[in-house]
């Protein structure tokens, strides 16, 4: 598997086929013996901005702790939860439990649902 070609930036789908964002980054473990292994998938703003410039990553992280869901770290999904890698990366997780949808839920609850006709995120 080509990690960059086949995994990085691919869409993530949870066990109910709901989109969870995209693979922003990968965490690899480099042990003393054996090849490096992918241990986690990273989802979230700071990881993405870091790929353009580390300063942008730090800025994104700082802003993310001032408002919104105020995550201290990007969402980290264990590689062991990956079911298949094809057109999308299918995961054996509930999207909402991973933290990958924190921003979506926050925007829905704090902004969209306050506008008439916005609906209710919990009705899903």
């Amino acid at each position: 598997m080509h990690l960059v070609r086949d995994v990085l930036d691919k869409k993530l789908m949870d066990r109910e086929d709901c989109p969870m964002g995209r693979v922003g980054g990968l965490v690899m473990h480099v042990g003393e013996s054996g090849p490096p292994r992918v241990t986690h998938i990273l989802v979230g703003g700071p990881t993405l901005w870091m790929r353009i410039h580390p300063a942008l990553g730090r800025l994104s992280s700082a802003l993310g702790q001032m408002w919104g869901p105020r995550r201290k770290e990007p969402a980290k999904i264990p590689w062991s939860r990956v079911e298949t890698v094809g057109r999308e990366v299918k995961l054996d997780v509930e999207g909402k439990d991973t933290g990958a949808l924190d921003w979506e839920i926050w925007v829905a609850r704090h902004i969209i649902e306050h506008i008439p006709g916005g609906g209710s995120e919990e009705e899903e």
Partner: protein, 404 residues
């Protein structure tokens, strides 16, 4: 049966959704100043757009990816962000121009100046996005946009010399004002080849769940729909050439543009012009708002669909709410939509390579298209036209400054 219905709707969509303030302003200015001499720019732009639209539909139907999905996955986030920045900034300017076009149409109908219309118009556009479905937006706005066929009627009524008009399909330089001529050519190309149309079309194909069986329909929609649309633009140019040029009228303002229809169709021309601009710009504003939201949502992997409640795709809904709100601001302060239109059309031409070159790479990638990759004709037509647009933009803009 469903495919035939889709085909008819698709063509109607293309026809009704083609004209907007950019294509009308640039074609009207071109006709008023240079007669038929810039018809070739509309022809070239339309030809390129036919290929681009067909490619957008093909990519979606075969790979089940929208263009933006594919750009992000194939080229990575940093490159995607670079494309997003350039494309969205220009698309935003076009959105301001379209909202301004709606405001202007209401101004000439009611007498109330366009800055006062900025907020109400933005609200209505937003409301349709908030409550409407993709089908309602796509089909409703485009069916109303069919009133723009009145430009064709006007052109026929003015009885043009078709031989002279046909000669305009080949580039011929004017005797003077060459720098303005090339600047208008660039603007016409930018008005015709709008990248947001390709993003919108590929997203629509995914929303409508197209597969390979839709490839023939896709070709027909692209060819016939865009051709009819291009003919509408040509009709505007011809009407301006016959109604305004002999009287020395330049199209510097929206109010002057209306005069081309009052000459061609005395009884109803004024109202047909106002309604044409109203519905055409409305449809375009909806398409651009959707296209920008699609760009963010698809690129970042958010939930996106016009067919669900806003809370189910909260960030997608938030993006279009923000951009429509921001787009009203310059208009409220009286910034001239015609000037924004001309700037944004020229900028579109200059930034076309940014949006289209990655797209061309994708269309030749076997991972996405398999045996349905581009042939040499598609690659050549699109590549050449984009190169021409870019070179013209780079050369003509400084020439316009230096006075030719």
């Amino acid at each position: 049966m469903k495919k035939i219905l889709q085909l008819s709707l698709g063509i109607i969509t293309s026809v009704g959704g083609f004209l907007e303030i950019g294509s009308v302003t640039t074609a009207a200015q071109a006709g008023a100043q240079f007669g038929y001499k810039l018809l070739w720019a509309i022809l070239l732009g339309t030809l390129c757009l036919i290929f681009l639209i067909e490619m957008s539909g093909r990519l979606a139907a075969v790979s089940k990816h929208t263009i933006v999905d594919a750009i992000r996955e194939r080229f990575g986030f940093p490159f995607f962000f670079f494309v997003l920045l350039g494309t969205v900034l220009v698309a935003f300017m076009v959105l301001v121009a379209e909202l301004g076009g709606i405001g202007f149409a209401l101004q000439i109908l009611t007498g109330i100046r366009f800055p006062w219309w900025a907020l109400p118009v933005s609200f209505v556009v937003w409301l349709l996005m908030w409550k409407g479905t993709f089908s309602l937006i796509e089909n409703g706005a485009s069916l109303l946009g069919l009133v723009t066929v009145s430009f064709v009627v006007a052109a026929l009524r003015l009885n043009p010399d078709w031989t002279s008009a046909a000669s305009g399909l080949l580039p011929t330089l004017p005797d003077d004002d060459k720098s303005k001529y090339w600047f208008l050519a660039v603007s016409i190309l930018g008005a015709s080849i709008s990248p947001y149309l390709t993003f919108f079309y590929s997203s629509g194909a995914i929303e409508d769940k197209w597969d390979r069986t839709y490839l023939p329909i896709n070709r027909v929609i692209a060819a016939f729909g865009m051709t009819f649309g291009g003919l509408l633009s040509m009709a505007v140019l011809i009407v301006a050439a016959l109604a305004l040029r002999p009287k020395g009228i330049q199209v510097e303002t929206f109010q002057q543009a209306a005069l081309m229809m009052t000459t061609a169709l005395p009884k109803w021309g004024f109202y047909l012009f106002a309604l044409s601009m109203l519905f055409a710009c409305f449809g375009a504003a909806l398409e651009i708002s959707l296209a920008i939201s699609y760009f963010f949502s698809q690129g970042f992997g958010w939930n996106w669909s016009e067919d669900v409640e806003p809370s189910s795709d909260a960030r997608f809904a938030f993006v279009y709410t923000l951009i429509i709100g921001f787009a009203a601001v310059p208009l409220m302060f009286g910034v001239d939509p015609i000037k924004i239109t001309m700037m944004s059309m020229a900028l579109t031409s200059a930034t076309l390579p940014l949006a289209i070159v990655p797209f061309l790479f994708l269309m030749n990638d076997p991972i996405y298209l398999g045996k349905h990759r581009n042939g040499w004709i598609s690659n050549t037509v699109v590549g050449v036209v984009i190169l021409i647009s870019f070179v013209l933009a780079v050369v003509s803009i400084p020439l316009e400054i230096m006075g030719g």
